[in-house]
C-alpha cells in the first residue's frame, strides 16, 4: 500500500484502540457503533457490490446471537431451565466457564449462520430485484416471530445472556473487553472485505450487479458467487450478533435478535447514506447514522422514530448516491477516476 494510505490506516487503528481510554464514558456506545459498521459492511456485499438488496441479513445476526448465548449456557447448564427460571439467578458461571463458553459460542455464532446461508442460498438467491428484497424481509421477520414461539430460548420473553463473572474486574473492564472484541471484529471484517474486493470475486460481484445475464452468458456460474458472498456476510454478522447479545445482556426475538423492522432496515440505510458499493461508504454511513441517532435521540424525545422514518425518506429520495457518491462527483481525481475530457469526446477510429 502507498505510504500515505498506510499512515492513515495506522492512525485510525491507533485511534480505535485508544478510544475507550480517551472517552471512557462512551465505551459501550462506540462498541455498538462498531457493530453497526459491521452490519453496514456486510449488507453492502449483497446490496452495494452485488446489487441484491437484502432486507433479511438480520436473520444471520439473530441466529448468531441465539447460538452464542445458547452455547454459553448449554455447555454447562440445562438451557431450558435457564430460560424458564430467569437464568443467572439459579446458575452461576465460573470465570473459566464463562470465557470458555463465550469463545466456543462466538466461533459457532459465525459458523452456524454461514451454514444456514449456504443451505438457503440456492433457493433465495435465485430470486431477483424486489422479489429478493421482500422475500428476505419475510425471512427476517418470520425468524423473529418463530423464535418468539420457541420455549427453549425463552419464547416472547427472551432470555438473558450469562452475566459477567464475579471477581473478574468491574463493569469498566467488562466494557473494555467487549469494546476490543467489537473493534477487532470490525477491523477483521473490513480487512477481509478490502482484500476480497480486489480479487476476481469482487469483480464478479460487480458484474452480477451490472448485468447478471451477461455474466452468465460469459461463462460465470453466478449462483456460486452469490452464495459465497452471503456466507461471508453471514459469518461476520453471526459473530457480531453473538457479541451484541452479550453486551446487551438480554436477548429478545423481535427487538434485539431479529430486529428486522429496525436494524434490518437501518443496515440498508447506513450503507446507502455512506455510499453503497464502496468500501468506506458503509463505514462512514454507519458512523454518521450512529452519531445522528445517539446525538439527537434525546433531542427528539418521543419523536425519534418519526425522525428516523423521515431520514430514510430524505436519504432514499434525495440522496441515493450517499456521501461517497457525492464526494466522487466533486473530487473524481481522488478516486483514481482521472478521465480526460479529450478521451471522453474522442471519436473511435478503426484503421
Amino acid at each position: 500500500m502507498k505510504g500515505n494510505k498506510l499512515i492513515i490506516y495506522g492512525l485510525l487503528l491507533a485511534f480505535g484502540l485508544a478510544a475507550p481510554f480517551i472517552f471512557p464514558a462512551y465505551k459501550l456506545q462506540i462498541s455498538f457503533m462498531w457493530i453497526l459498521v459491521i452490519l453496514a459492511l456486510t449488507w453492502d456485499v449483497q446490496g452495494g457490490q452485488m446489487g441484491y438488496n437484502s432486507f433479511g441479513n438480520i436473520l444471520f445476526f439473530g441466529i448468531g446471537m441465539y447460538i452464542c448465548a445458547g452455547i454459553q449456557i448449554g455447555m454447562f447448564f440445562p438451557l431450558a431451565e435457564w430460560t424458564s427460571s430467569g437464568g443467572e439467578k439459579t446458575f452461576l458461571h465460573t470465570p473459566s466457564q464463562y470465557f470458555q463458553g463465550f469463545f466456543v459460542g462466538l466461533v459457532l455464532a459465525g459458523i452456524v449462520p454461514a451454514i444456514v446461508a449456504a443451505l438457503i442460498g440456492y433457493g433465495i438467491l435465485g430470486l431477483r430485484g424486489h422479489y429478493f428484497a421482500i422475500c428476505t424481509l419475510g425471512l427476517g421477520i418470520a425468524a423473529g416471530e418463530i423464535a418468539g414461539g420457541i420455549e427453549l430460548i425463552g419464547a416472547g420473553q427472551g432470555m438473558t445472556a450469562p452475566p459477567w463473572p464475579k471477581g473478574i474486574g468491574d463493569t469498566e473492564l467488562r466494557s473494555e473487553f467487549f469494546y476490543f472484541l467489537c473493534f477487532i471484529l470490525m477491523v477483521v471484517t473490513f480487512i477481509f472485505l478490502k482484500w476480497a474486493y480486489q480479487t476476481r470475486f469482487g469483480l464478479i460481484l460487480n458484474a452480477i450487479r451490472d448485468n447478471e445475464d451477461k455474466a452468465e452468458a460469459m461463462g460465470i456460474y453466478t449462483m456460486r458467487y452469490k452464495i459465497i458472498g452471503w456466507i461471508v456476510s453471514a459469518f461476520f454478522l453471526g459473530i457480531a450478533g453473538g457479541l451484541m447479545g452479550n453486551m446487551v445482556g438480554y436477548i429478545e426475538p423481535t427487538e434485539i435478535a431479529f430486529a428486522g423492522a429496525t436494524y434490518g432496515v437501518f443496515m440498508v440505510l447506513m450503507a446507502i447514506l455512506g455510499g453503497k458499493g464502496t468500501l468506506w461508504g458503509p463505514v462512514i454511513g454507519a458512523v454518521a447514522f450512529h452519531i445522528f441517532k445517539e446525538g439527537f435521540w434525546t433531542f427528539f424525545l418521543g419523536w425519534q422514530y418519526v425522525a428516523l422514518g423521515a431520514l430514510i425518506v430524505v436519504i432514499v429520495v434525495f440522496f441515493p448516491e450517499g456521501i461517497m457518491g457525492w464526494l466522487r462527483e466533486k473530487y473524481p481525481e481522488k478516486f483514481g477516476e482521472i478521465v480526460d475530457e479529450a478521451d471522453r469526446k474522442a471519436q473511435v477510429e478503426l484503421k
Partner: protein, 247 residues
C-alpha cells in the same frame, strides 16, 4: 473441415407464437455464416435457443458434437460458444478494462479459486484487444458512459477476451457509425482467419453480410426460407419477396 454447430429441427414456441419452426442448419468450423431475415423472423430467438437462454420445445443442438440444448447458459459459454446481444450488454458501472478483465477465461474455476487475484498480464491483453476494436483511448471510461456503437465494440472485445471457439454476433454493425463499418468487417475477417473463431452473424446490412459470409441462411416467419452462397441468396426470389413482403 468439421461441423462445429449443428441445429436439428429446432422448435420454439412462446405461447401460441411459433418463433422457431423446424429450423435446421449447420456451421463448418472456421467459416463465417450469415443469418438474415426480416424483423420478427426468429433470428435472435434462434441465437437464444442455441446458447441456452431458453429451453427449446423440440429438436437438438450440437456444438462440437456435444448436445447443448439442456445445458445452462454458463456451461455452454464455457464450452467456447459465446454470443453478443442486439441491445448491448456490458457492465455499466465498471470501466472498460474491468469489463475486459472479468470477461477472460480463468485458468481454474473451482471453489478454491474464488478469491484468486487477477493476473497482471491480463491487463496487457485487455488493452491490446481494446486497441484492436479502437477503444484504447476510452479504456478508463465507465462502460455505461460509452455510446451505443462504442458499447457494441466493447462487447466484441469482451467476447474475444474469452477466447471462444465460436461467436454468435447479433447485428454487430447496427448503430455503428457508417465510416467504421469497413473497419469492423476487416476485423471480423481477421478474427475469423487469424484467431480461428467461427462466426455466425445476424445482419440487416446486406453489404456487410455479403462481404463477410461464405454461406447464408435466411429465416422468415420463424421458418427456414433459403440457404446458399451470398450470390445465390442475393438472387433468390423467395428471399427478395420475404423482405419486400415484410414491409
Amino acid at each position: 473441415m468439421s461441423t462445429i454447430l449443428e441445429v436439428n429441427q429446432v422448435y420454439k414456441y412462446f405461447g401460441g407464437v411459433k418463433a422457431n419452426e423446424d429450423i435446421s442448419l449447420t456451421v463448418e468450423q472456421g467459416s463465417i455464416v450469415g443469418l438474415i431475415g426480416p424483423n420478427g423472423s426468429g433470428k435472435t430467438t434462434l441465437f437464444n435457443s442455441i446458447v441456452g437462454t431458453h429451453p427449446i420445445d423440440k429438436g437438438n443442438i450440437k456444438f462440437n458434437d456435444i448436445e447443448v440444448s439442456q445445458l445452462p447458459v454458463p456451461t455452454v459459454a464455457k464450452l467456447g460458444l459465446l454470443r453478443t446481444f442486439q441491445q448491448t450488454r456490458i457492465y455499466g458501472k465498471l470501466n472498460c478494462i474491468q469489463n475486459m478483465l472479468i470477461s477472460s477465461k480463468p485458468e481454474k474455476d473451482t471453489i478454491f479459486n474464488i478469491f484468486s487475484k487477477i493476473p497482471e498480464d491480463l491487463t496487457t491483453k485487455a488493452e491490446n484487444l481494446l486497441q484492436f476494436v479502437g477503444l484504447h483511448q476510452k479504456r478508463k471510461l465507465r462502460a455505461g458512459d460509452l455510446s451505443f456503437g462504442q458499447q457494441k465494440l466493447l462487447e466484441l472485445a469482451m467476447a474475444l477476451m474469452n477466447e471462444p471457439k465460436m461467436l454468435l454476433l447479433d447485428e454487430p454493425t447496427a448503430g455503428i457509425n457508417p465510416t467504421l463499418i469497413n473497419g469492423i468487417i476487416d476485423r471480423l475477417i481477421k478474427v475469423n482467419k487469424e484467431f480461428g473463431i467461427t462466426l455466425l452473424v445476424i445482419e440487416h446490412n446486406m453489404r456487410v453480410i455479403m462481404s463477410l459470409a461464405q454461406r447464408i441462411f435466411c429465416l422468415a416467419h420463424g421458418q427456414m426460407l433459403a440457404e446458399g452462397t451470398p450470390g445465390q441468396i442475393k438472387n433468390d426470389k423467395r428471399v427478395i419477396d420475404a423482405y419486400l413482403g415484410a414491409q
